[in-house]
């Protein structure tokens, strides 16, 4: 067996979360340091793996590592790296240290517990993106709820308990339906293949379900992923949770964990249920476009910063889903880049605003105004994050949004046109928010706001650098994701539409 890179990547945050509880007389590191160093080591390993990743290979997965887990049911502990998972674990590995650094105040007296949950989120996110066994995927998919539940419930705002409860109920509702579908899938596979298996590659390569079974199973899994993503109308948990959670929690939740929904659609739904996916695609595109516009419109009317960000994310998840179900290379790769761009911009928005919100202990927009003079750097960074979020050209979000729209436009003209309207709405919600929070007359309170210090600027700068970098040079993401997207297209059995007019001059 090759060197177990993926297992190590997964184990580092898990071990670190245990190390946090070693009595302090035996270790020289502080809690913060343990968490930070372990997440940096994870990042280092992910970079090493990314450098070794063979973009020219056609293999479905690389770096595979597999143990028998419950052999009776054909369950194995199988980790493997597809292009899409590599992109997402890289996002996870980059955001976690930033969150740990930026949230040193959030845990307060319960800092150790806070860090443990953050590390557990990282571990579960890595596991869910690496899982190549559907049962393992399901287990982690459910386990992910726990850290967020505690982070919201123990560190959140005044209505944290209600928010945490709502979050976990939505998560469990999706998970339950998925479990039922999973069991059904197992028996369907066992009947057809003669052996029970949860292997994602086996299920997508060998299984050929009858259409009604496939439809029901598709809907079961889709329900779970759509609640997680979240898609309108199953989205209402997100604003409540984001409003009550601390900025660090929200970054981990919206920036990373919600991607599990869209990742699941791309990596599980399409390969395993290709026919049903094709059948339901138009309806899902409809829902997605509706979500894009709906989220953007409601974001305009919000009175609370964190809720605004949540609705912006709902709009963006609409874009991601739209790109995935366009079944075009451009759309799907666009969605993959979108996940990265959205993760980065969400982190930028939540963390920058977090520094501001902390100073007033309040995130209502009306309480702010005229901060340009007192906090110019914060103003600037927020504007950059905001512009990244509304897909300003030159930022990663633009490449992603344009590709998603183009991919969709190739197949679904009217939905793409409607979704394009969101670029106007985006300008309104973001710039209006910026105008109300940062510009205008300086009032008594705004003079007391302290600007970001050097350390905080340094913490946030990787986000800005990466956003601009991928805006001008998205090739690494495209190259990494290309093969898995091509494989997915083959599973679904679709090809890219050709230009209406052949090129006059072929370059």
């Amino acid at each position: 067996m090759n060197f177990p890179w993926l297992l190590i990547i997964l184990l580092i945050p898990l071990i670190a979360s245990v190390l946090l509880f070693i009595p302090k007389k035996y270790v020289i590191f502080k809690d913060q340091q343990i968490a930070l160093y372990s997440s940096l080591i994870t990042l280092l390993f992910v970079i090493v793996v990314a450098l070794q990743f063979d973009t020219s290979s056609n293999a479905a997965t690389q770096f595979d590592i597999s143990f028998d887990w419950i052999p009776v049911f054909g369950i194995s502990f199988h980790l493997g790296l597809t292009g899409i998972s590599l992109v997402l674990i890289a996002l996870t590995a980059v955001l976690t240290p930033i969150v740990i650094l930026a949230t040193e105040h959030e845990g307060q007296k319960k800092n150790r517990e806070f860090l443990m949950w953050i590390l557990l989120i990282e571990a579960s996110a890595l596991a869910v993106f690496l899982a190549r066994d559907l049962f393992l995927f399901y287990v982690v998919f459910e386990a992910m709820l726990v850290p967020i539940f505690f982070l919201v419930g123990r560190f959140g705002g005044p209505r944290k308990n209600a928010a945490a409860l709502k979050f976990i109920l939505f998560g469990l509702a999706g998970g339950l339906v998925m479990l039922a579908a999973l069991i059904w899938l197992y028996f369907a596979a066992a009947t057809q293949l003669g052996r029970g298996t949860f292997s994602i590659s086996a299920l997508s390569n060998e299984l050929n379900l009858d259409i009604w079974t496939e439809r029901w199973l598709f809907l079961g899994f889709f329900f779970a992923f759509a609640l997680k993503a979240p898609m309108v109308p199953g989205h209402t948990w997100l604003p409540d949770t984001a409003e009550q959670a601390t900025p660090g929690t929200s970054t981990m939740l919206i920036g990373i964990l919600d991607k599990v929904g869209t990742y699941g659609m791309l990596a599980i739904l399409l390969p395993i249920f290709p026919n049903a996916s094709k059948e339901f695609a138009p309806a899902i595109i409809g829902f997605a476009v509706f979500g894009v516009i709906y989220g953007a419109l409601i974001a305009i009317a919000q009175k609370d910063m964190k809720r605004t960000f949540a609705y912006i994310s709902i709009s963006h998840f609409g874009f991601i889903v739209m790109g995935i179900f366009s079944f075009t290379s451009i759309g799907m790769i666009g969605s993959t880049i979108y996940m990265v761009a959205h993760g980065l911009s969400t982190a930028g928005l939540f963390l920058t605003a977090g520094y501001l919100i902390r100073q007033k202990d309040n995130s209502l927009i009306q309480n702010f105004g005229g901060l340009t003079k007192a906090a110019p750097v914060m103003t600037g960074l927020f504007l950059v994050a905001g512009l990244a979020s509304i897909a300003l050209p030159g930022m990663a979000g633009f490449v992603a949004e344009f590709m998603v729209l183009t991919g969709t436009f190739q197949v679904y003209k009217i939905p793409a046109i409607i979704a394009t309207l969101a670029i106007v709405l985006a300008a309104i919600y973001m710039l209006w928010l910026y105008q109300r929070v940062f510009t205008g007359n300086e009032n008594k309170d705004s003079k007391n706001i302290v600007d970001l210090n050097k350390k905080q600027i340094l913490i946030l700068s990787p986000i800005v650098v990466l956003t601009v970098l991928f805006g001008f040079y998205p090739t690494p993401i495209i190259k990494i994701a290309e093969t898995s997207i091509a494989n997915t297209m083959t599973y679904v059995g679709v090809t890219d539409p050709q230009p209406i007019i052949e090129k006059v001059v072929s370059k």
Partner: protein, 619 residues
């Protein structure tokens, strides 16, 4: 080499913004240096281009592969196209841009955020250069939004003023409406031609069905309307005057707002292929040029009046660009001459404001010619140029547009002729109210001439405004220069050229005389009792009122209603489900009485029922 033209100001902007206050001292000089070296490199490239034979003048430099999805045949390079059209823009942008950098040194010397101002100016120059040098529509889009961002930042530069922040947002949103058109146009290009580069699209459109050129043409027109403040997306430009005056000169007069004209000329073959799209362009241009002129004639705010004038002059360019090959060259020619004379007038307005404690009300000016010699002379040259008095620059460019419009149709010709008269009227009004007539300023205002850093750019620009026309049109030089890129057809107006010149000049003279007669006496406060037409013009011909009534109010109502809907219906369903479950369980739990004996009873009964059921099933 050509990439350096963009890279220098971009790098300078990045340094100024990221290093912060450390660059306060040398920052402005670095920004000026970056812009000036861009100009020098651009000029060097221009000389090299002149040295090459005509057919080798288009050079495409691929810097790197920007976006490529080979599986889908999708490939967009970060590639720069240097040809006669783009180098003309490069020279205009960097030359005027550098002068305005220098002007800002004096104008913004008292502002504590001077460094940030210069960073934004550099950012603007870089983005604008990217816009005109891009070899494909997607990269153009990057520059297109880049200048929009710079414009947003600069309009809202004085962010502590709520009006400035609102105006900045309005400009950006209006631009984004245009971007909606540009995005869709680019997407349509891709699905039709499989490429978004200028060369592929321009060649592909020749063999394409009619709907292609019509669709793309109209979408590009929408984009141009947003960026160039043309009807119906014009209303942001007047508000944009909230920005510092150098910004108004550079971005909202000389360069950025003309990007729409560039876009149309760059897409010449698309518009050539669709007569409907062309007509739409002409109509939009005609409406805008008249609207702008009417608004300009009613405003007492000198900058807003100039902004109306800008809208009107860009209307001329757009109209000319809509005329097809007979007009493209003249649209660009007018764009360049306008860049000079409008910049000089905006800088003059800035100089006047600088002298009168930032007062913008022309009714409180008057007689400034006696105290501000350089400003008056340079402004007056700009004035002569814009109303089209030979041999000043505007005469050549505008006269050609009138010829071209007349050879297209009588109504286009009538619009531009009438516009020329209106231009003469409002510009004369402005000059009379500002520099001549009796002084009407407050007693504590002491107007004075501006420092050299401000007057020098004005002098240089006014030389251009005076001479550019003669130089460029001498021997049809400019027509021949641009012909390989845009194509050119000699206009064939129904009258002889001499007749047209005489008609135009007499219309202009009428406008001038009317203004002098009308403004022989000027009240310090604008008269209240005025005709309906004047009221309408003062209110920007109800552009804002319409936006508010048709878009803003319903939009706000919609977002509020949706928010309530989301809370009460969508989330209400979820919460209702929770309450329902809770309600049922709180009723069911009443059965937990706490009496051991009743529990025992339920066990017995349950067992009995189980036994009975089992017995029945077994039977």
């Amino acid at each position: 080499m050509i990439a350096a033209v963009i890279a220098l100001p971009a790098l300078s902007a990045a340094l100024l913004l990221s290093l912060g206050n450390r660059t306060n001292k040398f920052g402005p000089w670095m920004a000026i240096g970056a812009s000036a070296s861009s100009f020098l490199i651009g000029f060097w490239q221009f000389l090299q281009m002149l040295a090459r034979p005509e057919e080798e003048r288009t050079v495409i430099t691929t810097v790197y592969e920007w976006l490529a999805v080979p599986a889908a045949g999708f490939k967009v390079d970060f590639a720069l196209q240097l040809d006669q059209l783009s180098i003309s823009f490069v020279l205009l942008i960097t030359f005027v841009g550098t002068l305005i950098h220098i002007y800002s040194l004096g104008y913004m010397s008292h502002d504590e955020n001077q460094r940030r101002f210069f960073a934004y100016l550099n950012l603007f120059v870089a983005a604008m250069l990217l816009l005109v040098l891009a070899d494909n529509y997607l990269l153009l889009y990057v520059g297109w939004e880049g200048v929009g961002l710079a414009s947003y930042l600069l309009i809202g530069f004085w962010q502590h003023k709520p009006t400035a922040a609102v105006a900045a947002k309005k400009a950006f949103v209006a631009n984004r409406v245009g971007d909606f058109g540009l995005s869709l146009a680019i997407m349509t290009m891709f699905i039709v031609f499989g490429s978004v580069s200028f060369s592929d699209v321009n060649e592909g459109v020749l063999g394409a069905p009619a709907w292609v050129s019509l669709t793309i043409g109209l979408l590009l027109l929408l984009a141009a309307c947003g960026k160039s403040a043309q009807f119906p997306l014009q209303s942001w430009l007047l508000d944009a005057m909230e920005g510092p005056t150098p910004v108004s000169a550079l971005i909202h007069a000389a360069t950025m707002v003309t990007a729409g004209v560039y876009l149309i000329v760059r897409s010449a073959s698309i518009f050539n292929a669709s007569e409907v799209a062309q007509t739409a362009v002409i109509v939009i241009g005609a409406i805008s040029l008249l609207m702008g002129a009417i608004i300009g004639a009613a405003k007492d705010d000198i900058k807003k009046s100039l902004a109306g004038s800008t809208m009107s002059q860009i209307g001329y360019m757009v109209l000319a660009a809509g005329l097809g090959p007979i007009g493209y060259v003249f649209a660009i020619l007018h764009l360049i001459t306008h860049g000079f004379f409008k910049a000089v007038m905006f800088l003059g307005a800035g100089s006047v404001m600088h002298a009168t404690d930032d007062n913008v009300d022309m009714r409180r000016y008057g007689g400034l010619s006696k105290v501000m010699i350089f400003t008056t002379i340079t402004f007056f040259i700009g004035y002569l140029a814009i109303i089209g008095i030979p041999p000043f620059a505007g005469f050549y460019s505008k006269d050609h547009i009138i010829e071209a419009a007349l050879s297209h149709s009588w109504w286009a010709g009538a619009a531009v002729l009438f516009g020329a008269g209106l231009t003469a009227f409002y510009m004369t009004r402005m000059v009379v109210m500002t520099f001549f007539s009796k002084p009407r300023w407050e007693d504590d205002v002491h107007p004075h001439e501006s420092p050299l850093s401000m007057t020098l750019p004005m002098i240089l620009l006014s030389i251009g405004a005076a001479s550019m026309g003669i130089i460029l049109t001498n021997n049809h030089m400019f027509e021949h220069w641009l012909e390989p890129v845009t194509g050119f057809v000699e206009p064939e107006p129904p009258f002889s050229i001499q007749t047209i010149t005489i008609i135009t000049l007499s219309v202009v003279a009428t406008g001038v005389l009317a203004a002098i007669w009308q403004y022989r006496k000027i009240a310090k406060v604008a008269p209240k009792k005025v005709s309906f037409a004047v009221t309408a013009a003062r209110k920007d011909l109800y552009g804002d009122v319409m936006n508010e009534a048709l878009l803003m109010k319903p939009g706000q109502a919609l977002t509020r209603a949706l928010n309530i809907f989301d809370k009460s219906v969508v989330d209400g369903f979820v919460n209702g489900l929770g309450l329902f479950t809770g309600g049922i369980s709180s009723r069911l739990r009443k059965s937990e009485t706490g009496y051991v004996r009743s529990y025992a009873m339920s066990i017995v009964l349950g067992t009995a029922i189980l036994v009975i059921v089992l017995l029945i099933v077994r039977l």
